[in-house]
């Protein structure tokens, strides 16, 4: 059953145009970095376009932007039942909380991981373009692409997915998940720029910075250009610590989400019921509406009508956007 739920999720998302658009965009991102001499991320001039270090750095960097895409896979997997209205039908079946939550998560995660393959693939294709100066391209080795995907991308995406899955489960809204992501990314950027530049926090950043940049720069601090062109990231020391930390954090988030999730809508708490009872006692008698409709009003369709129509639509739209979605 779990397998089936995850497979359905995977197949469902593969039909989602968002998946293909993001695949294309992230392919371009990877492609652009290696196919263009002007674009590079923090690598000195003699480092090859397809150096294992460059690939690792890019694999890490793109995973921040990927958060926004993951929202549409992973958050959608859990929010979809509420937004489409199919939820009651699914939740009334014998699927069970465990299969429901983990099946949806694994399906969404699989899609996210699959889609992210576009980045290394884009880099590979980019570095093989005929216009790229052969001087700047090193030997092609599939391991150079796969290793960072394994060590950097998979833990990062696992953490991003768990985070969004939790956010979506608790807020039950795509909009709030997106808002949450924006806030988190902003917060992350602010914190990492403030502390990243300070030497005394370097070790701390390397250990706990969730996308692994601190750990990568710590692990490769004394690398020469030749190292960067030929050495895989060593999965040891601070990098290993960081990756384990990221996976553990993801596991904690998932556990919290699982615990918070409920198949049935819970009844309001005793305290809330008491409050409601108190509120209701204060109700005044309601006015009675006019029973008879008079046809004495007139209808007009001119420019003032158009204005009134526009204003009332505007007001409604603003109210809709500002009202708390839920």
């Amino acid at each position: 059953m779990l397998f089936n739920v995850a497979r359905f999720e995977l197949r469902y998302q593969l039909r989602n145009p968002v998946f293909w658009v993001s695949l294309f965009l992230f392919f371009l991102l990877g492609f652009g970095v290696t196919a263009s001499e002007n674009v590079s991320i923090g690598t000195p001039g003699t480092v090859h376009e397809n150096a294992p270090f460059a690939i690792a750095a890019m694999t890490g960097a793109a995973s921040i932007f990927y958060l926004f895409v993951i929202t549409s896979f992973v958050a959608n997997a859990i929010v979809r039942d509420d937004t489409t209205g199919f939820g009651p039908i699914v939740k009334a079946t014998a699927i069970g909380k465990r299969n429901y939550v983990s099946g949806r998560f694994l399906g969404g995660l699989a899609v996210a991981l699959l889609g992210y393959l576009a980045v290394p693939f884009g880099m590979l294709c980019g570095s093989m373009m005929p216009w790229v100066d052969p001087e700047t391209v090193g030997p092609q080795n599939p391991v150079y692409y796969l290793w960072p995907y394994l060590v950097i991308a998979i833990p990062n995406i696992l953490l991003s997915s768990s985070l969004l899955f939790g956010l979506a489960t608790i807020t039950r809204s795509m909009l709030w998940s997106y808002i949450g992501v924006v806030i988190l990314v902003m917060g992350y950027l602010i914190v990492s720029t403030i502390f990243g530049s300070q030497i005394e926090y370097r070790q701390l950043m390397a250990q706990y910075e969730p996308f692994g940049f601190g750990a990568i720069s710590e692990a490769t601090r004394y690398w020469t250009a030749a190292d960067m062109n030929s050495t895989l990231l060593p999965l040891e020391g601070v990098l290993l610590f960081n990756r384990i930390f990221v996976i553990a954090l993801a596991a904690i988030l998932l556990a919290l989400t699982y615990w918070r999730f409920s198949m049935a809508e819970r009844a309001p708490s005793k305290r809330r019921l008491k409050k409601l009872a108190l509120m209701q006692n204060g109700d005044a008698s309601e006015p009675t509406p006019q029973a008879v409709v008079s046809s004495a009003f007139s209808q007009r369709f001119d420019s003032s009508t158009t204005r009134a129509q526009f204003m009332i639509r505007l007001k409604t739209e603003i109210m809709q956007v500002c009202a708390v979605p839920g």
């Binding site: 469902y12 699914v90 079946t93 809330r272």
Partner: protein, 291 residues
């Protein structure tokens, strides 16, 4: 078989949708009638374990469904009053997925079950189309198909015939009538005659309370000699409403037929063969008089 004892539910906004509802529902079909907002859907969702009531107990056979909702879900078929569907999924794929969720593990069995249900709900020709593109009635039939999947022992269908054309409605009612007598089927509807035709037992819910419970035939018999009818012009209606306890008014060929409740026949009124609708309206009229 299904015992509902003292169930009350208050929503988070303070609406008291169910007020101390107790019902004993035997095997076979059970009709739930009630005006809009009576609490029918709330009761059905509660039995379907989709929401926990603020008070009360529900058992199905030996099973305490509030304590073990997952056990009930294994035996449940549920059609919500209104539901949406995922985009970009065909009727066949969705139904087959539902079959997995309902525990039909064997692939061959699943194929057989899905195909026969698509046939029974007359969706076979649309099996390859996206459900999101279905018409309202076709979507409703998809909902029916999934509710009947996998030999449920408890079937809860909330206004299943809403949106069905007359032919499809008949097909569905026949399908429902053909389901084994061992199954508990709870059906809510606004078509009083459907309950009269199908259900050996029924209840009327209004204002979150059970107003009436019993066998339609008994209930109809009880109103015998208390309902009278008269055909009047529209302008006479108000005067009649003041003088008599009018329980229903209906238009027929431009004239108004009123049914009234009285212990003996007032002058100018005729006998009627009372139907379940009169029972229903009498119950509601009583309720209004008390209020």
């Amino acid at each position: 078989m299904l015992e509902i004892v003292g169930v009350s539910h208050t929503y988070a906004n303070g609406t008291r949708a169910l007020d101390n509802v107790s019902l004993s529902i035997p095997r076979g079909m059970y009709g739930l009638l009630g005006p809009n907002g009576a609490g029918k859907s709330t009761l059905m969702r509660t039995i379907a374990t989709l929401q926990t009531p603020t008070e009360g107990a529900i058992t199905f056979g030996d099973l305490d469904i509030l304590a073990q909702p997952e056990e009930l879900r294994k035996k449940l078929g549920y059609l919500p009053q209104d539901f949406g569907v995922y985009p970009r999924v065909t009727a066949y794929d969705m139904l087959e997925h539902m079959a997995v969720l309902k525990g039909v593990a064997d692939k061959g069995d699943r194929k057989a079950v899905v195909e026969s249900l698509l046939n029974q709900t007359n969706l076979w020709n649309h099996r390859g189309h996206f459900i999101a593109g279905f018409s309202g009635g076709m979507r409703q039939r998809f909902g029916i198909a999934q509710a009947l999947l996998g030999n449920p022992e408890l079937i809860i269908v909330d206004e299943p015939t809403a949106g069905l054309d007359p032919e499809e409605r008949n097909r569905f009612l026949n399908l429902l009538a053909g389901i084994s007598d061992n199954v508990v089927i709870i059906l809510s509807t606004h078509i009083v005659d459907d309950v009269a035709d199908l259900c050996p037992r029924m209840a009327v819910l209004a204002g979150g309370k059970v107003q009436l419970e019993g066998a339609p035939l008994d209930l109809i018999a009880q109103t015998k000699g208390r309902i009278w009818k008269k055909t009047i012009g529209r302008e006479e209606l108000d005067a009649h409403k003041e003088r008599y306890q009018v329980i229903s008014t209906r238009l027929f060929a431009g004239r108004t037929i009123i049914h009234i409740l009285a212990d003996s026949r007032p002058a100018g009124f005729d006998d009627v063969e009372a139907g379940l609708e009169d029972v229903y309206f009498t119950t509601l009229a009583d309720l209004r008089r008390v209020a």
